[in-house]
């Protein structure tokens, strides 16, 4: 069994670039749309400081974490501390933050909580416990049948959605992002996460849920997981190593208008100083689409608002000796 080094307390390594979102939007219409989106986000807040997924919904740690991330990037600073406090109540003694108390193995929100606490510069003890949990837990591997449709070499360990299962791009990318933002980007688990993500990168660029090939055919990338992976790899990988993924994402960002995917596409590109000039217009168009698609939920709206405000993406400090 691999024993991973424990984390040492670090000074905050957050390098989060707040821009005061609406001041950079191009016209009154955009400012109005962004303002309405913030209002809609706050309406999903609960009296105890937490957030639900939808208006009137119950507290959810993932929604609360997303709301904190957006507010830390943009507005609502007065709401950040109560939300962080409510999120702490969802944390268990070993540091995990399960999605529901009834499902303690569903631990993927732990990384989101750590990202939220790190960006908000709040709750350092809880942040440290969450990171301790992250580095102490990894996927559970099984022997991959070489004649099956999974192409992983499995040289390194990533993170699963749910304990005792396999690793995938979103939980691995979000755990790496959490370690980056908490100042642990040099930890061996961060290095392993980098290896896992680079291994799962598709030949033609981009990432999907986490499998690159099926019986010799390259699978298709998704813009949202590509944006997350690029956000997490910023400061770890060279531009050459992810060049095709950046090209892919630049093409997709022009096209996609759903809030979750557009938000992640913009965050991924911004993390590599490739924020498109039309980003604000696209965000505006995405918000307009609520007339057709219905009101966006907290998580999607928060990712879009984070992308609106975090013009250099979600970055942590690069470890020494890394690009």
């Amino acid at each position: 069994m691999t024993v991973y080094p424990a984390l040492r307390p670090r000074a905050s390594a957050v390098c989060f670039h707040k821009e005061g979102a609406p001041t950079t939007t191009t016209d009154y219409r955009s400012q109005h749309a962004i303002g309405a989106a913030w209002k809609a986000l706050y309406e999903n807040g609960l009296p105890d400081g937490g957030f639900g997924l939808r208006p009137g919904g119950e507290f959810r740690p993932d929604s609360t974490a997303w709301a904190i991330i957006a507010m830390a990037a943009g507005f609502g600073e007065d709401k950040v501390a109560p939300a962080c406090g409510r999120l702490c109540q969802a944390q268990q003694a070993d540091g995990r933050v399960p999605l529901f108390p009834s499902h303690p193995d569903v631990v993927w929100p732990t990384a989101l909580a750590a990202i939220a606490w790190a960006l908000a510069r709040e709750r350092t003890k809880e942040l440290a416990r969450a990171c301790d949990f992250l580095v102490a837990h990894s996927e559970r591997r099984t022997a991959v049948d070489p004649s099956g449709p999974v192409s992983h070499a499995q040289a390194a360990r990533g993170w699963p959605w749910v304990l005792n299962s396999y690793s995938w791009v979103f939980p691995t990318g979000s755990a790496l992002l959490a370690l980056n933002l908490a100042g642990h980007s040099g930890h061996v688990r961060a290095s392993e996460a980098v290896d896992v993500l680079l291994e799962r990168q598709l030949r033609g660029g981009g990432w999907n849920y986490g499998n690159a090939e099926s019986f010799g055919q390259a699978l298709r990338p998704f813009p949202d997981t590509t944006g997350l992976a690029l956000s997490a790899l910023a400061g770890h990988a060279t531009a050459a190593a992810v060049a095709r993924s950046l090209d892919y994402l630049e093409g997709e960002a022009c096209r996609v208008r759903t809030p979750w995917t557009l938000g992640w596409a913009l965050l991924g590109l911004s993390s590599w100083d490739k924020r498109p000039q039309s980003a604000d217009d696209w965000i505006d168009k995405s918000l307009d689409r609520q007339q057709r698609l219905g009101s966006y939920d907290t998580n999607a709206l928060a990712v879009l608002l984070t992308a609106s405000a975090a013009r250099r993406g979600l970055r942590g400090r690069a470890p020494e000796g890394r690009p």
């Binding site: 997924l53 919904g57 119950e58 993932d62 999605l99 529901f100 009834s102 499902h103 569903v106 993927w108 099984t142 022997a143 991959v144 049948d145 004649s147 099956g148 449709p149 999974v150 699963p160 959605w161 749910v162 005792n164 299962s165 396999y166 995938w168 979103f170 999907n208 849920y209 499998n211 099926s214 019986f215 010799g216 055919q217 699978l219 298709r220 998704f222 949202d224 997981t225 996609v256 208008r257 759903t258 809030p259 979750w260 995917t261 057709r292 698609l293 966006y296 939920d297 998580n299 999607a300």
Partner: protein, 345 residues
């Protein structure tokens, strides 16, 4: 598309029933588990009706085709009037220009029209896409968003709902409970609306495998890895034992063969297959696809337990299978495809 061979789960199973299942049961590793499966199959009381209807194109009058089919199955106004109906299409992973991956939006529209015409109090569509987290994008790219918007049909993202947890009635997996989206608790009829496809883990994906999509991704992951990890065959059986669909309507107008469920090729079968019993519907689809249902592990095991796959137990109405059979391409490179071809009479 995920590792599903959990060695521990396999070890927990005995080998006594593997012999019964033969080659197809090897992936199942059944035995030594709780639940009702250990009682063994009983085919004596199993009878089912399956309707096969021709439908060459998506711009045909599909609602008439489905309405006629439901009448043949004995689905009456009284059975539907005032009820809540959830349609569960297969929207695993849309991709532009690849309509053969997902249940066609016009089949969803037609089914919704039929149930509303039969007097349903409400018809809603629900899906928890297996690969993609952005369900809105899935709706947009599959073309279903247009249909839902135009017809004002509500949609529920089954990946992120509050939970309704039930004891696992199958207990073939190690999961003692299964957590479903709470919206399923509030509906009267669940209609599985799959695409007719080959599948590189399970041989085929039809109305039973389609029920994977009701399991919330936020609890089971994207892909639904916990269920794959437990063993995909066992998971299909557990889900369908615990929450069986009351009806199945299979979009076989254009299906997928080869490396399904995502990377395969379009395959026109020109049919819609309907029935109340999911194993019987899936077995009939297999026969149309030129696949022996008795060699699909979970179907073989479901027969006599969740329904029947035996041709002699299924009353076929509508078109004759023999006239419609069109062999779906199976790939030697895919272990799950080997030995599935149905012999021609």
């Amino acid at each position: 598309m995920t590792p599903h061979d959990n060695p521990k789960a396999r070890r927990s199973g005995g080998s006594s029933r593997r012999g019964v299942l033969g080659v197809v049961g090897a992936g199942l590793g059944i035995g030594g588990l709780g639940g009702w499966y250990h009682l063994g199959p009983n085919e004596s009381g199993q009878r089912a009706i399956v309707c096969v209807a021709k439908a060459a194109r998506y711009d045909a009058a599909l609602s008439d085709v489905i309405a006629r089919g439901l009448r043949e199955l004995g689905v009456s106004d009284a059975e539907v009037r005032g009820k809540s109906v959830l349609l569960k299409p297969n929207l695993v992973e849309p991709f532009r220009g690849h309509a053969h991956i997902n249940t066609h939006p016009l089949v969803v529209r037609a089914a919704a029209e039929v149930f509303l015409r039969l007097g349903a109090a409400r018809v809603l569509v629900g899906e928890g896409p297996g690969h993609r987290m952005d369900t809105l994008l899935v709706l947009e790219e599959s073309g279903l968003a247009d249909v839902l918007h135009e017809d004002r049909i509500p949609f529920h993202d089954l990946n992120s709902d509050s939970l309704w947890t039930m004891p696992n009635k199958g207990r073939l997996t190690t999961l003692s409970t299964l957590s479903f989206p709470a919206v399923l608790h509030g509906v009267d009829l669940i209609v599985s609306l799959p695409k007719m496809k080959t599948h590189h883990w399970t041989g085929v994906t039809l109305s039973m495998k389609n029920m994977f999509g009701v399991m919330p991704g936020e609890v089971y992951g994207w892909p639904k890895n916990v269920l794959h990890y437990e063993n995909i065959f066992r998971s299909i059986l557990d889900i369908c034992a615990t929450l069986p669909p009351q009806l199945a309507i299979v979009d076989g107008i254009v299906g997928m063969d080869g490396d399904g469920p995502i990377m395969g090729d379009p395959k026109a079968a020109g049919v819609i297959v309907m029935g109340r019993n999911a194993p019987a519907v899936d077995a009939t689809c297999c026969r149309i696809m030129g696949i022996d249902p008795a060699r699909i592990g979970y179907l073989a095991y479901a027969s006599g337990r969740l329904g029947t796959i035996r041709e002699s137990n299924i009353r076929q109405v509508g078109e004759a299978i023999a006239a419609l059979r069109t062999d779906f391409r199976l790939l030697d490179v895919i272990p799950a495809h080997r030995g599935l071809r149905l012999r021609k009479n």
